[in-house]
């Protein structure tokens, strides 16, 4: 991504990579560092932003940056194995290079949220875009009134960042709640769907911002339930994901109504989103 050509990516080297989950659509997390020190220094993303990452010869894919800038001079991406590009990404290991351009899109207004309680509600791979908020709030804990996380997946094996949750659950300045869809052996957290767990926890909407991301069906029920709990549209945020190619508002496909997800999004307040046709298509 040079000054005069936004389509040309930077190279970044994978410092570490690991599998978060298994199965056909497994999720692999990459920790990458830009090769060019100048890029490393100038790169500045905000929680919620995305980057186009890719493998030369295979293509690029828009992936949310799953770390907070407060964590250090590296980037993290959690990638689910789906199509041609993500399959190629999954074949990379520490020492291999990937291409990165960005950061793209808007971000969560974490500065505006100062002094508020933050509630994240994630499902499956949807926790990846929420993780930067969690990390950002953790590193600026004093500026926020609270941090509650609800996170669920189909089974224990499908939960991302499991180790981090285990660590966090030991802290008393935040609370995290894990759930899986179906009972399984050795699981000592909640069993049930995320939207139900949200109702059960019954968080107060008072001075709270709720951020959700996950499969479309989960988001739909979470939004309904947040409403039931008394959250106003302005208190609810989510991020969208559509098919993208350019990442910079040119190629045309990612629009939901008149909103280009790559530029106007991916973060939307529900107060905006509810009027966008196609947003929940």
């Amino acid at each position: 991504m040079t000054a005069d050509n936004p389509y040309i990516p930077y190279f970044a080297t994978i410092e570490d990579s690991w599998f978060e989950t298994g199965g056909d659509r497994c999720i692999k997390t990459f920790k990458v560092v830009f090769d060019d020190p100048a890029v490393r220094d100038s790169w500045n993303h905000k929680p919620g932003q995305c980057a186009m990452i890719g493998v030369l010869g295979e293509g690029e894919s828009m992936i949310s940056i799953s770390c907070s800038p407060t964590e250090g001079k590296f980037l993290r991406f959690s990638v689910m194995k789906m199509g041609k590009v993500t399959q190629a990404l999954h074949k990379l290991e520490a020492g291999d290079k990937m291409t990165v351009r960005g950061p793209y899109g808007n971000s969560f207004p974490v500065d505006d949220w100062q002094g508020k309680k933050i509630l994240t509600i994630g499902g499956g791979i949807g926790q990846a875009p929420l993780r930067p908020i969690v990390e950002f709030v953790k590193s600026n804990r004093e500026k926020y009134a609270g941090l509650t996380m609800i996170y669920g997946a189909r089974s224990a094996g499908d939960l991302c960042f499991k180790g981090e949750f285990d660590q966090m659950s030991k802290r008393d300045d935040l609370s995290c709640h894990l759930t899986i869809d179906i009972e399984e052996e050795g699981w000592d957290h909640n069993v049930g769907f995320v939207p139900q767990m949200l109702l059960d926890l019954n968080p107060s909407p008072e001075n709270t911002i709720a951020v959700t991301c996950g499969p479309p069906i989960m988001i739909r029920f979470v939004l309904e339930n947040l409403k039931k709990l008394g959250f106003s549209d302005e208190q609810v945020y989510t991020t969208l994901e559509n098919r993208m190619k350019c990442g910079i508002g040119k190629c045309g496909r990612c629009n939901a109504g008149c909103m280009y997800v790559c530029k106007d999004g991916p973060v939307f307040s529900y107060s905006v989103l509810k009027d966008i046709p196609e947003a929940f298509a």
Partner: protein, 335 residues
Amino acid sequence: MLLNKEKWPEFVEKLIGKNLWAPKLEGEAMRFALVAEGEEVSLEYGNTRVPPKGTAFPQTETMYRFQLGNTDMQEPKLEEERILLGVRPCDARAMAIIEKLFRWDYDDPYFLKRREMLTLVGLACNDPGLNCFCPSVGGAPDSAEGLDLLMYDLGDSFLMESVTTKGEALLAETKELLTDSDADAVKTKEKLFADAGAKIKRTVDHIGIPEGLPGLWEDPLWRRVSASCIGCATCTYLCPTCHCFDIQDEVEGFEARRCRMWDSCMFEEYTLHTSGHNTRPTRRERTRNRINHKYSYYVDKFDVIACVGCGRCINLCPVNIDIVEILRQVKEELQ
């Protein structure tokens, strides 16, 4: 300035050395192509089937080349300056309209560089086509928007009016073939092109449409107008304002390139997510998006309708899906 038609061959001849592209008959198809011989240039073309947008936004272009396992990337040398002769006003307007998108926040280097190197010499339409409706969407048979130089066919001669400095320069270079224009010529021109405008029968009343369209989201009209759609890209590929593209990597041995090529919102895969989820799963949603994009979203973002009324999508739709007719129904529903 005036160019007597007797001097036309000389005029063309003069431009040939400067990388001249003009409508040319290839097989049975009239299209913009590099001119090698003066007589190849046709003026009897109504309009080309494929618009000249490809001169700034080629159907396929290499973004950069690289070798597998190597971090060097070579950007292609973009083509040299060229002159497009005989561009219709609608197509020139379209260039100006899509330029807004290619400048939106991020400058698109490929489009902008190519565009910069083009000199567009327009030819006003004396005899608009069957399905032309440019006046309805802000154009005219003699609109100069987006052009560098506009020629008016006055019968025996062309009246040449420069629009930009590029156009002026071109006139200066050919000035020995030109004579000064006079009041008569201007009068003839005005009369001719008022007549030309009057010949256009098809109209779109777009008032209220940009604001109204999103409200018709679930209207049954979308199913109705898309029922016969076969999902091809004729309407979009031949549209001078359609600008969507796909990016693909192509590999041969160890050599590879990343390139982009036109894409169409009428294709099923256009919005098909690898998960199998499709935000616009049927032709109904895709047709709705096409109309909305042109007549609402683009207006919302760039304050101009992304349709220049060239009529190509009507002329060439295999199943007679007619945007004027669709917009008439939209209007009807809105009222």
